[in-house]
Symmetry: C2
Subunit: 544 residues, 2 copies
């Protein structure tokens, strides 16, 4: 960080007297001028722009300059003070003005000149990198590490004990004992992935949908629409990067998978949360959210509806076949000037412990006009091999493929060959069966313990999930479960860790409920789960 | 693609008569108005922008609108015609105006209104996705596939025959036969990578630098500075994404690794090529490039200098120890307001067939103040396992880690455990020795054949590389080796494929030499290489 020296003489003169606070009303930027010498300036400046800034005076000059950078950092990273030798121009993009982040923000300018010329790294970092807040789970990891005996009901890991060492060994040996074919597995692969694996993954998905529905579908999806990625998270990132410009919107369940919310934010996009019930996103609420966005003049920014239709992370809810069709229908109807996609993130589909399977939205959109399917073997086989996939609308093959070719021009091939062999040798579904047994027991342990301890505590409720790895628990309103509250500290001291629900909320739309908790039953034994819920419940009752 | 219906009545009226062609002179945008009804419009529009466009008439109105999207697609994706129901506003960002792509582009407008209200997908795609031209190699792949007997001296693959099936099998079995540790290898890993692998990779690099130098260095690099990525290409992408805002600059050798050039372009950044000689980037030219950029008022945009210091792809050159220090020194001296990093992409370091090793820039910057090291096992072991790494300045750990946590929150762990075991069991360096033998022979075959056939053909010259996988060949000026020329078609018909040098040039700086060729000797046998160079040389002589 450079030392701040004397006040600027020439070009900077006058600025310390004309500090401003943008106030937003009816999507217009207004300015108020006030004086504050001591508060540091958060801005981005470019050297090449020779235009003087007249903030607070002449609105037009603010817009006229097309040279200057968008002042993102001051919106999102208040602690990162950027000093500069030149205050050139400040431009506030309309997309930001419309955003809720901006409404209550106070911008104060500090225009003293840095004469010491030390280098500031913050200047070197891109806006996107500044936006990337990282994934919140890392703070929690720290908490867990500092208390090794803690019962973590926070971890996103899968069960360690059932990880398929034997079948993986078998498949790997088969891959590596096949002469020339073995060598091919150690070579670079293609950008979209191994053809055999793509074939098997697509066939499997279609077969499952047919099995789950009494309606046949005429699948037109081709192999070109299938992409393999090192984890479905890369696919989700690529989709966000392919669809979103800064300020663009993805609608999602409230609450939603926080890594995806973070990735969208990183790209400069916005997530808008839609109300959910026991069957996930409520179509009527989705419709209302779109109506509101349209009234705000932002419909052109809506690019997709993100859903985790099977055993949502964190909500635990599953979309019924009917809801899936309704959501798809809404996406179709609201696609006026441009297409609105539906992302069907089916990460947990195989982890079903109760009840019948539901056909994917793919079944109602069998040539994938609107639907993007994301899938992964991380939960149903092994996250260490890390193979995910996407089924894409044909119009996204090119753009997403181009984006991918810049990141890795293809997923690691050995891992793909291992997974293809596991599928081909019929080692996958038996493993899934085994996993269901393991997780079903833990799921019951968690739901049972919640019932026992919190069943008649007023204000406590949770969704009785039939699959996946999460239970979403709501506590009485006066308990703030967040990182800034005291409840989480008490819970950690008592020996149990959870993910504060606040991490799982979109940047807009449905307001965050700070009395919520994401619990996972993937990692701990049934016994430890029961014990953990006991400890947590004690805290909750203390707080009553 | 929507059907184009009647001409717009109200807002669109008059537009077909005011079509324009931006012509660039001395970095300023001028406009010429002409009439062209039939040519489609390439533009991006947003619905919310209610301002009328006056292209060709009033320059100011073009800049005034801060609402509208940048019209990237027409610059890069000519075949992607975008129709829209509304032609709102067209804004041309300065970064584009300055870019050479723009100079000869003709923008023609087609302003008929689409009343049919069908959806247009291009509206849904982000600017970044539109910018992502994809990697050029795919066109070449197509050429190769359509002619299966072709001798491809274009492929970026490694030698298939020497791929280490036996040692990989051994290491994998060891990883998967270790009880609890085996299970850990199938679990999620951490964002920065496996600790043992990070330790081994860092130790190895430091040991190699010490062995290559008679000066000791006091390494302060910590394990926190080491990141593992699924291929070093992801690391390069993350670096570009972490450092670059649209319009920002990375200096690089002319020519340079085209995937990196493409990734920078995708992010909206610019690469500026610096003149090279037989020892890579010429420090004096680098200095001059920076002076020019400073004169243009763009120094604040320069974020890094990208080098492939060992057996550059495509140049084949290696930076001497002295040059490495000079480049580092230049980065230091020009870091005034902000830090300029040096990216040392050491992908080919291990593929040295002649002469002594050179210490990495890391050796002259042992706490990595400015230096970013990128490395990979793809070339020196197996690209199918796909493990790369980065050594980062401490100030980039946070921002790059945050970006990475959005893409995959950690590289696949099994592949990392396999590579760690290969290192630990001392299986790597013996394999490198073997590879050197294989590639040395091919390298000699290629250089020998070039000498035989083109040694006294005037205008032909190439760098006699001592390592890596590429030879960079320059032909007489009148031969255009590019995709649009007839030479490449003749070569393909004659049975040999190469990468046109034009793909390897930065977006600015040193002008592209369209009479250059990238040849690789990684994939073909010595015999086929000799034969291929023979066929290519025949063509060259035909064209004399
Ligand atoms: C809902 C959801 N989608 C996607 C993923 C990504 O999984 P992977 O990248 O391992 O395929 C996860 C992992 O936790 C998830 O919970
Ligand atoms: C110069 C250079 N850097 C980086 C890479 C990326 O290799 P990988 O992603 O396989 O580690 C390559 C591959 O061709 C390369 O040539």
């Amino acid at each position: 960080m450079p030392t701040v020296a004397a006040e600027s003489g020439t070009r900077g003169r006058g600025y310390p007297q004309t500090l401003q606070r943008p106030v937003i009303s009816s999507n217009k930027l207004r300015q108020q001028v006030w004086h504050n010498k001591s508060t540091p300036l958060f801005f981005a400046s470019t050297r090449h722009c020779r235009q003087e800034i007249h903030i607070g005076g002449n609105n037009k000059s603010l817009n006229d300059c097309t040279n200057c950078r968008i002042a993102y950092p001051f919106l999102r990273h208040l602690p990162r003070v950027i000093s500069s030798t030149q205050l050139d121009c400040l431009k506030i993009p309309n997309s930001e003005i419309a955003s809720s982040h901006f409404v209550s923000f106070e911008l104060t300018l500090h225009c003293r000149r840095n004469n010491s010329m030390t280098t500031s790294t913050d200047h070197s970092i891109s806006r996107r990198a500044k936006q990337a807040a990282g994934q919140p789970i890392s703070q929690l990891m720290g908490m867990a590490l500092s208390n090794p005996n803690i019962i973590s009901l926070a971890a996103g890991f899968v069960d360690n004990d059932s990880l398929p060492v034997t079948t993986t060994n078998l498949a790997t040996q088969k891959v590596l004992a096949a002469g020339e074919t073995s060598k091919a597995a150690l070579q670079y692969g293609s950008n979209n992935g191994d053809e055999q694996l793509r074939t098997l993954v697509l066939e499997q998905a279609i077969a499952m949908n047919h099995a789950a529905s009494d309606q046949a579908a005429n699948y037109q999806t081709t192999l070109e629409q299938v992409f393999i990625t090192p984890g479905s998270n890369q696919l989700l990132y690529l989709i966000a990067d392919t669809l979103l410009d800064p300020g663009d919107i993805i609608l999602c369940a409230s609450p939603s998978y926080f890594v995806f919310i973070g990735a969208v934010k990183n790209i400069g996009g916005r997530t808008i949360g839609v109300a959910t019930d026991n069957n996930g996103i409520i179509p009527r609420s989705l419709e209302e959210a779109l109506e509101q966005i349209e009234r705000d003049g932002n419909l052109s920014k809506v690019k997709a509806i993100y859903t985790v239709p099977y055993f949502d992370n964190p909500g635990g809810t599953t979309l019924t076949a009917e809801r899936g069709q309704q959501i798809l229908d809404i996406a179709r109807r609201w696609s006026r000037d441009h297409k609105i996609y539906v992302i069907s993130d089916e990460a947990y589909r195989m982890l079903r412990y109760e009840g019948p399977d539901v056909p994917s939205m793919h079944h109602w959109d069998p040539s994938l006009e609107h639907t993007i399917v994301a899938g992964t073997f991380s939960k149903s086989y092994s996250p260490g091999i890390r193979v995910g996939w996407g089924f894409l609308p044909t119009d996204l093959i090119g753009p997403l493929g181009d984006q991918k070719s810049n990141i890795d021009f293809g997923a690691p091939l050995l891992a793909q060959r291992i997974m293809a062999t596991i599928l081909e040798e019929n080692l996958w579904l038996p493993h899934v069966e085994k996993l269901r047994g393991v997780y079903r027991q833990r799921c019951h342990a968690m739901l049972g313990a919640l019932e026992t301890h919190l069943g008649d505590v007023s204000g406590c409720h949770w969704h009785k999930t039939n699959g996946g790895l999460c239970v979403w628990l709501t506590l009485p309103e006066h308990i703030d479960t967040g990182m800034q509250g005291t409840f989480i500290k008490a819970a950690v001291e008592a020996g149990v860790l959870y993910v504060p629900g606040e991490f799982c909320y979109a940047s807009g739309g449905e307001p965050a409920n700070h009395s919520t908790i994401r619990l996972t039953f993937g990692v701990q034994s049934a016994e430890r789960i029961t014990q953990g819920i006991g400890l947590l419940s004690e805290q909750i009752k203390h707080w009553q």
